[in-house]
Symmetry: C2
Subunit: 319 residues, 2 copies
């Protein structure tokens, strides 16, 4: 089958990759649409030593699953962590933190930038009919944005700052907007500000932030300067959510966290249900983030586009 292959930080288009074979409890899925995420770009930079097909944001169709399971022919999205089901984390219901997990397109499990992929049936969620493929392909990053609402109580009177209006920061902003909180977003690029403004989300530049302090700050840039800005912008007793990973180590003054009793909460994947619910009710609209859709044989061009400064969502359509 056709697919992108990553090895030694080099991405190649390969014509004759072996089509994956589902084992018991797994489904073969034809990929309809897949999204390029910052993690994919970081894998190329060697953030994690992955060899295989990248891609973990997708919507597809089940083309091979035991008929008694009822999955055959269903349009699906899939949770990306493949858990062992037996370790302490799995037994405690935290299978996204499974000690032996493999991760679709990221660690030891071939991903979505190919004609087909395989996932355990337990990872699949059927996509309701009202959700387009273009919206459904955002389920995974939208679930990551929804995870914030599981970690911190955000009510209407809270002042909330999102730092970063890229692919993930924008989705975070849309999700937080549904809470009715007093939301502002630091956006670097004019096109990012335009899209947020069209959705009635208040934006500002880093320079215009001044000394204003917020109850809750979401760091979604993955840069040390974003983290510093988060610390400068948080009220005493406030909560900073870290939504992006950082390359290497960062110099940080932890004493301010102690004196001001700040909470710093790491936030990664989320469960798919709330994300699919937001999409089904059209409470969020991620489609406005799509900049371009490439065919799979233009996959390298798609990655090049996604890597441009300020680029929003670039999709790959294998079909």
């Amino acid at each position: 089958m056709l697919g992108l292959w990553l090895e030694n930080q080099k991405l190649e288009l390969r014509q004759s990759l072996v089509e994956p074979l589902p084992k018991t409890g797994e489904a073969l899925i034809r990929v309809c649409l897949a999204g390029i995420c910052s993690t994919d770009l970081e894998l190329l930079k060697g953030y994690y030593p992955y060899s295989g097909i990248p891609g973990h944001e997708f919507v597809g169709e089940v083309v091979n699953a035991p008929s008694e399971t009822g999955w055959q022919g269903k349009r699906v999205v899939g949770e990306i962590n493949i858990a062992c089901g037996q370790c302490e984390m799995c037994r405690g219901g935290l299978d996204r933190h499974c000690e032996h997990r493999r991760t679709l397109g990221i660690h030891d499990w071939n991903g979505a930038f190919a004609s087909f992929l395989v996932l355990p049936l337990a990872n699949l969620h059927e996509v309701p009919g009202g959700i387009s493929d273009q919206a459904a392909v955002f389920t995974e990053p939208l679930a990551a944005a929804c995870e914030i609402l599981q970690q911190v109580a955000i009510s209407q009177e809270k002042t909330v700052l999102v730092i970063g209006a890229g692919r993930l920061g924008h989705l975070v902003a849309q999700v937080l907007q549904t809470t009715g909180c007093r939301l502002e977003v630091v956006a670097r690029y004019p096109h990012q500000r335009r899209i947020l403004t069209s959705r009635h989300i208040h934006t500002l530049s880093k320079a215009s932030l001044g000394s204003k302090k917020y109850d809750i700050v979401i760091e979604a840039t993955g840069s040390p300067s974003g983290l510093l800005l988060a610390r400068q912008s948080i009220k005493p007793r406030g909560t900073i959510i870290l939504k992006s990973t950082y390359k290497g180590e960062i110099q940080f003054n932890f004493s301010r966290l102690v004196v001001d009793e700040i909470s710093l909460i790491g936030s990664r994947c989320g469960s798919f249900e709330p994300a699919l619910e937001l999409l089904a009710r059209a409470q969020v609209d991620p489609v406005c983030l799509i900049e371009e859709t490439y065919s799979l044989d233009q996959g390298l061009e798609a990655f090049s586009h996604a890597g441009r400064s300020g680029a929003l969502k670039v999709l790959i359509q294998p079909g």
Copy 2:
């Protein structure tokens, strides 16, 4: 009056300091007993540019307060933050985080290493009769330890690691022991381990920690290596409480926090009520931490003792 005076990181014994005069709403307090804390030692090292009488852990007797207030003659301890009562933090009930606060013996308010001190009546708590001066002088650091229970739910099934068994770490351990959680304490010195063991608290050395992971880790060393150990010892989705400040900036890998969805919570002062309650019920016994009590005119020797590696509590008795 007699007292210790700190200026330009130099501590002196002064014979004729001006006795403080209480303003409206304040009380004059004769200091019965005062404790030396790590923050006092750090003020000497220039951690914060304070000039004045240090000391913020004390028990004393009200010798001058308006008679209608009922405070005259009472044995008291006092909260250390003097709040403005008007800023956003004060209005929100977070007067310990007042934007304009002064702090007893730390910032712009003379402290307890003297014959007398002054505090607002609002800061005072009467010490119940059953609590000795030797126990009551620990109310402030004990309140700081109790603050942890306000910030994170610690139930019996939780595994909890306290890193550091010095003055504060030991009190944290005693407070956590009251929850019935599965508690272990990393203690560096044999005498620290001995005291904890005598209270049936399980101790271990850093070397024997291995790769065991805990639900909750309390960092009470104030050293970068303690912070690193906390990160290495925490389970995914766990909570690290930072109970000490750190000198300067620290190199830290924030990506692990994100991937493992760790919470890092700064923790400083606490309210005095729960601490006084624990003392009144004899659920904790801080007196075992007292290494020596010096008279005020031996105050410099007391500081020298408190500054020794592994030293526990050193008291100063002005009377």
